[in-house]
Amino acid sequence: AQSVTQPDARVTVSEGASLQLRCKYSYSGTPYLFWYVQYQRQGLQLLLKYYSGDPVVQGVNGFEAEFSKSDSSFHLRKASVHWSDSAVYFCAANSGTYQRFGTGTKLQVVP
């Protein structure tokens, strides 16, 4: 069955530290892949997307993600986090009618 898995429900990092949020997908073939961010009391906003080509894609606010076909993964990274990055991050995949979302990772950036 198709699925998107975010194994970490919560991640806490210090401000200025690097970040990786994990995402694994289970699809036959390669779906379209996305990362969204949801700030408190807001809707989801697109951070970045991958369709094909260069496996490292750049997004907004210094985020990037790396696609790995061999690992069926699409991990999100940021070199140096800011307190304003505290939010819930969703990985999503789409191979047809609708998107499947992961369960989300809540990121807390501490001083």
Partner: protein
């Protein structure tokens, strides 16, 4: 910059009442969705409308019904709300034939007493 608008922002009601939530997008998209987001932030798709045709209905309770007047509007009606309907309802849109990313509204938070 908001391009998917939802009203109201919040709604508090009692069990058994009927509620209606509105969603409008100004992106020119032809596909719209309703999602339910629970207290654990889990997203569940409820409905999808493409050019006013229902194309996905993920076995939601019959008291929920989508209503669309044109491709820019997709409303959600809940007839006789239950306590488990308390959640945030998110509206989203996309172009069916184009890029598959979705654009979300800010959500409507429903509390059922």
């Amino acid at each position: 910059e908001t391009a998917v608008f939802q009203t109201p922002n919040y709604h508090v009601t009692q069990v058994g009442n009927e509620v209606s939530f509105n969603c409008k997008q100004t992106l020119g998209h032809d596909t719209m969705y309703w999602y339910k987001q629970d207290s654990k932030k889990l997203l569940k798709i409820m409905f999808s409308y493409n050019n006013k045709q229902l194309i996905v209905n993920e076995t939601v309770p019959r008291r929920f019904s989508p209503q669309s007047s044109d491709k820019a509007h997709l409303n959600l009606r809940i007839k006789s709300v239950e306590p488990e309907d308390s959640a945030v309802y998110l509206c989203a849109s996309r172009n069916w034939g184009g890029a598959r990313e979705q654009y979300f509204g800010p959500g409507t938070r429903l509390t059922v007493l």
